[in-house]
Amino acid sequence: MRRYVLLRTASIVPALLGVSVAVFLLVRLIPGTVVDQMVGTEGSYSEESMRALRAFFGLDAPIHVQYVRWLGAVLRGDLGTSWRSGLPVVQMIVGRLEVTVELTLVAMLVALAVGVPLGMLSARRENTGLDHLVRLLSLFSLSVPVFWQASMLILAVSLWLNWAPAVDFVSLTRDPLRNLAIIALPGLALGTAVAAVFMRMTRSSVLEVMRQDYVRTARAKGVAEPGVLWRHALKNSLIPLITVAGVQMGYLLGGAVITEEVFTLPGVGRLLLWAVFQRDYPLVQGTILFISGLFMVSNLLVDLLYACVDPRIRYG
């Protein structure tokens, strides 16, 4: 087990390096340099001052030197300084991390709480009207853009409950009740989209397990049907769900950007959008690197959890 944990954890290093190269090159993809972009709209600059600006941003060195310098700083926890706010990028991200993490976790909880029971129900009533209805609903849910679903939710609660989503975010530690009232609707909007994926996975997984020999043995032994389902089938059919949950973290983190925008939540996603429109490249680079790192670490945790639950992985 320890060997697996070490190997899997080490495998994240080359992937992270690859991502760092991609994020670094992303900013170099812009036509011209960032300095040309910056001064382009702000009058004419002499060649001298352009050179000074390039030197200031470290753009005068060969590209591999630039990358090594940048990576060195990143490894020391320095993602650079925001051009617009003058604040360290890390500080700006950490200040908004709570919102994104909370939103993503609430959405994941909603997805599990809705998707897994519906998937089980659908599998237990295979090929009945209820099964068809649940599957059709999940197909619709997979086809709805998350931002539209969020808008329709806002519209529904404002029309029927006469309630408008709060504008100011309140931290969970400061006022848990108000915080939950603010995060519930965005979490619901983001989570239901993923619930459909969990529902489909649970359904096919339960159906698969129910056809296994050990389930037939349990039935033959005289175990009552609820016992077969809860004691034997459910545990094993939930294993593939862990992998799906890991993959869906990527969807949730991407969806969080849009959900934060619709509900004007001050999270890392909105920070990324702000940086994009301000052409604040260090901040764009920093937020993308950070969100992708978060995605990879959550995938790592999911894999390790998988190894805990399924002993076959460790010895495989």
């Binding site: 993809l29 519209l155 995605f295």
Partner: protein, 278 residues
């Protein structure tokens, strides 16, 4: 037996429904200029924010533009971006997958690692990053979507190519003097077409969603072009006073994506021997 037949009939009905949606969308996109009652960019400020009526079945937006006409013309942008971006992703991704799978060794390793890096980003975040760097616009959004989805085609193709290249027919073709290029394209590619077609259908659904998301965020299609995502963005401010500005473009996205999802599900069931008969 009767149950299996019933199941197949239901699945066929759903696939037919999906195909119907896509066919309707293609027709609307092709004949948008004839079908749409108004010019999608024609502003009549006197008619601004009119609720749905006989003259304007989907209402009007803040500039008095007809929402129905804009929604119909929006199908052109959605289909155009989806087809062009997934077309590029399909060609590039498949070529890389074929190359890596067939050549193996260092080529496979380099291509595989590059694809892994692209997989390490949440898709929307990568699309936002690329679109942001290229600058907002329809073509750049399509390019960003192509980059994001190309690795999926590469991955779908690579595995089967490795399996196929060791089979007797491929070895026989090589033995008969066919070059590697000919073996890959004439002999191996037709054998990995089924998973590619399924992947293309599902990816088209995601491409429509991604284009809408990028346009909604202001990084895709720019106003006044009637992209569904842009329309939803414009409708945000008027969500409570003119909800029709948001409701109809959103429904259009949902139907289009549903069409490709249903088709993808049906194709997978038809082409995957393991799922056949279930």
């Amino acid at each position: 037996m009767a149950e299996a037949t019933r199941r197949r009939a239901l699945r066929n009905a759903l696939v037919l429904f999906g195909t119907g949606i896509i066919a309707a969308m293609v027709l609307l996109a092709t004949f948008a200029g004839v079908v749409a009652p108004y010019d999608p960019t024609d502003m009549k400020v006197a008619d601004a924010l009119k609720r749905p009526s006989l003259a304007h079945p989907f209402g009007t937006d803040r500039f008095g533009r007809d929402v129905l006409s804009r929604t119909i013309h929006g199908s052109r942008i959605a289909l155009g971006v989806a087809l062009s971006s997934i077309g590029i992703a399909l060609v590039v991704g498949t070529a890389l997958g074929l190359l890596g799978g067939y050549r193996g060794g260092a080529t496979d390793l380099v291509i595989g690692r590059a694809m892994d890096v692209l997989f390490s980003f949440p898709t929307l975040i990568l699309a936002i990053g690329i679109a942001a760097m290229l600058g907002p616009g329809l073509d750049n959004a399509a390019l960003a979507i192509a980059v994001v989805y190309a690795p999926q085609f590469s991955r779908v193709v690579r595995g089967p190519v490795i399996a196929e290249r060791a089979k007797e027919y491929a070895l026989a073709a090589l033995g008969l003097g066919a070059g590697g290029f000919r073996v890959v394209f004439r002999h191996i590619l037709p054998n990995v077409l089924a998973p590619l077609i399924v992947q293309a259908s599902v990816s088209l659904a995601y491409a429509i969603l991604t284009e809408a998301a990028l346009s909604y965020l202001g990084l895709g299609t720019q106003p006044p072009a009637p992209s569904w995502g842009t329309m939803l963005n414009e409708g945000r401010t008027y969500l409570e006073t003119a909800p029709w500005m948001s409701v109809f473009p959103g429904l259009a996205i949902m139907l289009a994506v549903l069409g490709f999802n249903l088709l993808g599900d049906g194709l997978r069931a038809a082409l995957d021997p393991q799922l056949r008969g279930r």
